[in-house]
């Protein structure tokens, strides 16, 4: 660091250049969006599923932000997903079906829960933190389960009425509006997350993940940053939950379950953690496979996805992106 300070201004601009390069949009980053547009036209019978995939990618992105960048191992992100889903659901079931304000309310509610719980639990680490994230989700699950007069309990929230977007675009039965709605929201969320991880704040998160002591030593406000990123991540997860609630017009207790926290982790790992694009690979892979196989027999599905996880951890660490990076390095060395 001292060396770069001593250098002439020419080198400083070189450094700034390298910073700017990191922000630059690469052609490959357009790929997910092109694929999504193609899918919209090519698989018009599956738009409902595709919309769910897009919304779940937001959820995976939110987990990636906390886990992949800040290194917060969480088994309770369903808490925020579910909080968002119930916020949007309750609004729509009680006479306010405007979707965009519903999303905003969900983000605020989930973010608030993320902020409060984060401020309390992020002081711990390791297994204790894992437990705390789990317990927060379990508490919300129990609340939603017992407040059945409000949430419908185990039967799920019935009677949601979601109004047309901007008062114009009605949610149709083919899921066309749902798809475009999720597409737009995902794009926005992706821009936000991308900006965050490339910012100085995002860099300091990586620093916290890699070496907390050193970040403390250089005077970074470690705890405040962790709480901040946890809050942002929670709000994003809330948006994802709200999207799924609004497009399916239903909220069940499953949105808060441990299973949900576990599977989103699995989806993200399949794609690759901490690389921003893992979510875009893992979620579609998992959800399309689930749609193909789980509807036939959910029992086998659980067994095979479990086996797949074990094999992934044993032989293919880093998920698809990790394997891809290793293969690229390997082929480079061979040349």
């Amino acid at each position: 660091m001292t060396a770069s300070l001593d250098r002439s201004t020419g080198d400083d601009t070189a450094m700034l250049d390298s910073f700017a390069r990191r922000h630059r949009f690469y052609p490959f980053e357009a790929l997910p969006w092109i694929v999504a547009v193609i899918a919209f036209f090519a698989f018009s019978d599956y738009l409902a599923l595709l919309a769910q995939i897009l919304a779940t990618i937001i959820f995976a992105l939110s987990v990636d932000l906390a886990l992949g960048y800040a290194g917060i191992v969480t088994l309770g992100h369903a808490a925020f997903f579910g909080a968002g889903a119930y916020t949007a659901g309750l609004l729509a079931a009680n006479g306010w079906g405007e979707p965009l304000t519903g999303l905003l309310a969900a983000a605020v509610a989930a973010g608030a829960i993320g902020f409060i719980s984060g401020a309390v639990i992020l002081r711990t680490s390791g297994l204790t933190l894992l437990m705390q994230t789990l317990v927060v989700a379990a508490m919300l699950y129990e609340l939603a389960n017992k407040a059945s007069r409000l949430t419908g309990g185990a039967d799920g929230l019935q009677g949601m009425q979601v109004w047309p977007i901007f008062g114009v675009f009605k949610f149709d039965m083919f899921g066309r509006t749902a798809f475009l709605y999720c597409f737009a929201v995902l794009f926005l969320c992706w821009l936000i997350v991308r900006t965050i991880v490339h910012s100085a704040f995002g860099r300091s998160l990586t620093g916290i993940r890699e070496n907390v002591q050193r970040m403390h030593a250089i005077g970074a406000p470690v705890n405040r940053r962790k709480v901040l990123v946890y809050t942002i991540s929670a709000a994003l997860a809330g948006v994802a939950g709200a999207l799924i609630a609004q497009t399916t017009q239903f909220v069940g207790l499953g949105v808060l379950s441990l299973e949900r926290s576990g599977t989103i982790l699995i989806m993200l790992i399949i794609g690759g953690v901490g690389q921003l694009y893992g979510a875009f690979i893992g979620v579609p892979l998992y959800m399309i496979a689930q749609d193909r196989f789980a509807t036939v027999d959910p029992v086998y599905w659980y067994f095979w996805i479990g086996l797949f996880m074990v094999l992934l951890v044993l032989f293919a660490r880093g998920g698809v992106l990790g394997v891809w990076a290793r293969w690229r390095d390997w082929s480079k060395v061979r040349k």
């Binding site: 886990l67 191992v73 088994l75 309390v120 639990i121 002081r123 711990t124 390791g126 297994l127 204790t128 894992l130 437990m131 705390q132 789990l134 317990v135 927060v136 379990a138 508490m139 129990e142 609340l143 389960n145 017992k146 441990l258 299973e259 576990g262 982790l265 699995i266 790992i269 953690v273 029992v299 086998y300 599905w301 659980y302 067994f303 095979w304 996805i305 479990g306 086996l307 797949f308 996880m309 074990v310 992934l312 951890v313 044993l314 660490r317």
Partner: protein, 290 residues
Amino acid sequence: MSETASAAISVAFHGVTLGMVLYLISVGLSVTMGLMGFVNLAHGAFAMAGGYVMTTLMNRWSVDFPLALSVAVAVVIAVSLVLERVLYRRFYGGNELDQVLLTIGLIFMSVGAATYIWGPLAQPMRPPELLRGQISLFGRSLPAYRTFLILCGAIIVTLLWLALERTRLGAQLRAAVDNLRMAETVGINTSRLFATAFALGSGLAALGGGLGADLLAIAPGYALDNLVYFLIIVAVGGLGSIRGPFLAALVVGVADTAFKYFVPELGAFFIYALTMAILLRFPNGIFGRT
């Protein structure tokens, strides 16, 4: 006797029973986490396996209760030894996320396998003739099987603690938990110790799963549904501790039963809130080393 006092005794009785079962299952988890630094979320699957083997032997082949239970424990120990060698040991002290993923994968596999073999319904557990019905004790009538559970639990706990304090293996275990590298240096074969501790923990889990089959129903979702309880006990009791989880299990058992009895509209909420409060005050558990 007044209504409330009677209810309180009943709650305490059932709470202690639940606590005993939870302790038997969780103590192995505490050792795995404290000794090997491994977050074994799939630990409950061993308890479930024990329960399944036992109930199947009893219901389908009408094997005696004690024999069925022993076979169940033996089978689970054998399976756990293989798993330890093939899978678990690669991840000791390693990346937390890898461990979480590996063991969530194992949980899902256990859910799928159990549904495939035994179907989605819970397995009925019929205690042997001798332990059915009620017995009268101190002028009260108590369910015989639950009384037996408490007795069993107490005996096993005593044996376990004696073994830890008085045997060579116990001393090695304590040494390794305190300082793993030092224990290696003085010539303790830690690799074999890990395998033994793991097998012992799994065997105890199978014992707990079998004994407690009518408290924690033996169904495919077992490992996932009860995971929070096992983890709470370990985290609150303190990693690597044998005694901490006992107290924690009793507290969780009694508190959970009490809350569900007196304020059923809030269910398990209190127990989670309590856990959170304890962990914030004692991040390493009540008996954990700091």
